[in-house]
């Protein structure tokens, strides 16, 4: 019966090609636009590390000016980063199972002169927990151990791309890389790791690719490394240069902790508050107690990782699909009612109302399925175009991709649009009385 209905639906579509093209094209357009923008938003809004995001927390302390709050959209928020001295103290806690303070720098990497000129590489200075905390995948070797953090030992982790440039992609664990004025031993090479959102550091442009080089945080002082991240300050440093920065109230370090359970979260919050209360006795932290231990997804939302422009585009594209659906409804209604005499004959020959209704709903769903498929294909073309744009803008390859959940969403969207548009026309047409049109004939 379903097959028979499908055949009728296809025949009906072939009867008036132009009208069918308009009907199918309209819904295809709606699905294409809605899928395109929903997917783009989804790529930025989805949980980047679903297995762990509930256990990862971003730490902030309100060290700001007593006279006025940290500038920004919301005056109740503490600075987005913390000071060096607070990071050092917080890292002494044994409540988190893993933790890392971190910042970003641009450092010169000197390849073998036969391979190429020295080049600046984006580098993350972090502690060994960084890799396990964020599930960073390794191709060769692995993270340095916690002992190497303390030395610090001259060890380094490279990403796949830099390992390709420096060592032709070979297993380079144990080999030496010169960074600025020192030699480092490679302990690990990352597998391809390109999360759409650089979720562990969204204080600057969130769509940057992860860093090429990872080295122990404590090289900060011996190598006098300058951060290229944001630095927010309100009070002048007590001394010039790096020493001054390290003793200052300047906020420039990101701090993450992994807390495996609810009670640990409470315990850690209590620890942070107790630390700040203690510091207040020395005259620091002049503002009211306002520390934040924010879960990963909450932090990404607070930092507006999904730009307003994209939210607006998605909202508008869904409304656009709504118009396409209304349009489909009108056209189907017209098409079905024009078929009145034929339906009258079928009803007179014994077709039940339900038969007629089901037949027309199926026809609508056929239209929606064809339109939806075309729309999904068109959205793929749209995403490909967006990717060339992203490549030019931030040098990211294949940034937007239609994943399985979004394909499912697009299919569902098509079928729902078809059903909503088709229910009323199908109901109208199945109520055509058998006799009227026969008389007219």
């Amino acid at each position: 019966m379903v097959l028979y209905n499908l055949r009728i639906a296809l025949l009906s579509l072939r009867r008036n090609i132009v009208l069918s093209a308009v009907i199918v094209g309209g819904i295809a357009l709606g699905i294409a636009v809605a899928t395109l923008f929903s997917t783009m938003r989804h790529v930025l809004a989805r949980d980047p590390i679903p297995d762990k995001s509930g256990r990862l927390f971003y730490v902030r302390l309100d060290t700001w000016d007593p006279l006025k709050p940290y500038p920004g959209d919301d005056p109740t928020r503490p600075p987005t980063q913390i000071t060096y001295r607070d990071m050092v103290e917080l890292m002494k806690s044994d409540i988190p199972v893993r933790q890392s303070g971190m910042f970003k720098a641009n450092l010169y990497v000197f390849p073998d002169p036969k391979v190429g000129r020295p080049s600046k590489q984006v580098t993350r200075l972090c502690f060994s927990d960084f890799f396990a905390m964020f599930d960073v995948p390794f191709k060769y070797g692995g993270a340095w151990d916690r002992k190497a953090d303390q030395g610090p030992e001259p060890v380094v982790v490279l990403n796949d791309e830099l390992n390709g440039t420096l060592f032709g992609g070979a297993d380079s664990v144990g080999r030496t890389v010169r960074i600025e004025s020192r030699d480092f031993k490679v302990v690990g090479v990352l597998d391809r790791w390109r999360p759409a959102v650089k979720f562990y550091d969204v204080t600057q442009f969130a769509m940057q690719a992860p860093e090429a080089v990872y080295m122990p945080f404590n090289f900060l002082q011996p190598m006098r490394i300058q951060s290229v991240g944001n630095r927010d300050g309100w009070k002048s440093a007590p001394a010039p240069g790096l020493e001054g920065l390290l003793q200052s109230e300047t906020c420039w370090i990101q701090m993450w902790v992994e807390l495996p359970a609810r009670d640990k979260v409470e315990a850690y919050k209590a620890f942070v508050d107790a630390y700040v209360v203690e510091q207040k006795k020395t005259g620091r932290f002049p503002r009211p107690l306002n520390n934040r231990v924010t879960p990963l997804m909450g932090w990404l939302r607070e930092q507006k990782v999904v730009p307003n422009e994209l939210n607006a585009l998605m909202a508008v594209s869904l409304l656009f699909l709504g118009v396409c659906s209304l349009n489909l409804m009108g056209l189907l209604l017209a098409k079905f009612l024009a078929r009145g005499p034929e339906i009258g004959v079928r009803r007179a020959l014994g077709a039940r109302r339900l038969d007629v209704f089901v037949q027309h709903v199926i026809e609508c769903e056929v239209v929606a399925a064809i339109g939806g498929s075309l729309g999904i294909l068109a959205s793929l073309a749209g995403l490909a175009w967006m990717n060339t744009w992203m490549k030019a803008l931030v040098a990211r390859e294949e940034f937007f991709r239609l994943d399985l959940p979004m394909t499912g969403f697009a299919v569902l969207l098509s079928l729902v649009a078809g059903l909503l548009a088709g229910l009323y026309p199908a109901w109208r047409v199945c109520r055509i009385p058998p006799a009227v049109h026969l008389k007219l004939q």
């Binding site: 007590p238 010039p240 508008v316 656009f320 009108g330 017209a334 024009a338 744009w389």
Partner: protein, 430 residues
């Protein structure tokens, strides 16, 4: 005279037809309404983005090029070596064909940030006021193309003195008093934007000779002001700036430059800069970008949204028009016999055409009426959810006109087909 009563008479049958086909006609009404709401809001957002993008910086943006030198040769760590290098670089840059001016400054227009500090009128005890602050040399304002409106710009001597003074401070910790403030205050000469002058000192100037102070109590003496300054920042201080003198070392240990080219020469200069600079000193890499490129990146998101939304508006009007064509065609087909009868009874072609256009116009108008309300409702939602701009009534009026026209044009095709229906149809069966 006869046209007026005839037209009014036609409302009767049209309205009765609408009553009988509430859903079908209701669909057109609702579709038109939704289309107007979306179009008006999209165009508002597009215009808002365009306004932002059209914002003038006050600088000669199309002819500015950023050149950043990042050395890997350790010799650059010496101040003296770097200073010599800066002088050689500037000489080399200025001697290039097509270059009008070159300067050593960390200021980079349109990068969406920079550096900032808090100052206030000296001795005012008032609130500290945040402003952008950048180190410049004697050629920076000229390179940016910004005229001094009051007082004077910096001289080469200012730059030498300013640099010396700051370097002396960096040699060691300053002696501090009981409050932790430096015992000996310094004074730097600065050029400020008049917007910051108004904020800090109140009134419209003159600001030359006035003093600012920072949280350490160090002083900044205003020697000149500029009017034109706009550089978007993460905080709302886009029009506030304080320029002081210092031979610039970038945060990466190299030197940042801005180059102003002869009109239209930016692309040509960009091509030659790297080679030229590496010839001066090979111990470094260079990053050369036009300011237009940097501006393009800064506005990329807005630009994309504007393009996409404009495209959506066109598609939407197209889809809605096709929908009107379809439904009106159906009306015509369904009523072929009535049309034939009317024609046989003496109605002219123009009467039939008018009937369908009028019917359509009524539906559109009803839809547009609902659409105006819907547009404001949607704008309210978008303003809350994504900080969209407010909807202006001229734009809504424009949208109404656009959709009225589109609706009439869409109805014209099937209406003309209706007008061609032969009176003989009436006599045929079926």
């Amino acid at each position: 005279m006869s046209a007026v009563p005839a037209a009014t008479l036609e409302f009767g049958p049209i309205l009765r037809a609408m009553k009988r086909n509430k859903v079908r006609f209701g669909l057109i009404v609702f579709e038109v309404a939704l289309t107007l709401a979306i179009v008006a809001n999209c165009v508002t957002m597009v215009l808002d983005a365009r306004r932002d993008m059209a914002r003038r910086s006050g600088f000669d943006d199309p002819n500015l090029v950023s050149v950043r030198s990042t050395p890997f040769d350790p010799a650059f760590k010496e101040d003296g070596y770097l200073d010599n290098g800066v002088r050689e670089d500037l000489r080399a840059l200025r001697s290039m064909p097509g270059v009008r001016a070159a300067t050593n400054t960390g200021f980079l227009p349109w990068q969406g940030g920079g550096s900032s500090t808090e100052l206030r009128a000296a001795g005012s005890r008032g609130e500290m006021l945040r402003t952008q602050i950048y180190a410049v040399d004697e050629g920076t304002l000229d390179t940016l193309g910004v005229p001094i409106v009051e007082g004077r710009g910096f001289t080469p001597d200012d730059v030498v003195q300013g640099t010396e003074q700051l370097r002396a401070l960096r040699r060691g910790p300053r002696a501090r008093d009981a409050e932790g403030k430096p015992a000996q205050k310094i004074t730097q000469d600065v050029v400020i934007s008049s917007a910051y002058g108004r904020l800090a000192f109140g009134g419209n100037g003159p600001f030359v000779g006035k003093m600012l102070e920072d949280s350490d109590g160090d002083f900044y003496r205003v020697i000149g002001t500029i009017d034109a300054f706009y550089n978007p920042y993460g905080w709302p201080i886009h029009e506030y700036v304080v320029f002081y003198t210092n031979l610039g070392r970038s945060y990466e240990g190299g030197a940042p430059y801005l180059v102003r080219t002869e009109p239209g020469q930016a692309a040509a200069v960009v091509k030659q800069v790297e080679q030229k600079m590496v010839a001066v000193n090979g111990g470094r890499n260079l990053r050369v970008r036009t300011i237009e490129e940097i501006k393009g990146q800064f506005f990329a998101g807005k630009q994309l949204m504007a393009t996409m939304m404009s495209g959506l508006v066109v598609l939407l009007v197209l889809v809605t028009s096709l929908g009107i064509v379809g439904l009106t065609s159906f009306s015509v087909t369904e009523r072929t016999r009535q049309i034939g009868t009317r024609r046989a009874l003496g109605a002219r072609r123009a009467d039939i055409l008018r009937h369908f256009l009028l019917e359509n116009w009524l539906l559109s108008s009803l839809g547009l009426g609902v659409g105006v309300l819907l547009a404001y409702a949607l704008n309210f939602g978008l303003a809350n959810a994504v900080a969209a701009a407010k909807l202006g009534w001229p734009l809504v009026a424009g949208g109404v006109l656009l959709l009225w026209t589109a609706g009439l044009l869409a109805a014209l095709v099937p209406a003309m087909r209706a007008a061609r229906v032969s009176p003989a149809i009436a006599t045929r069966n079926v």
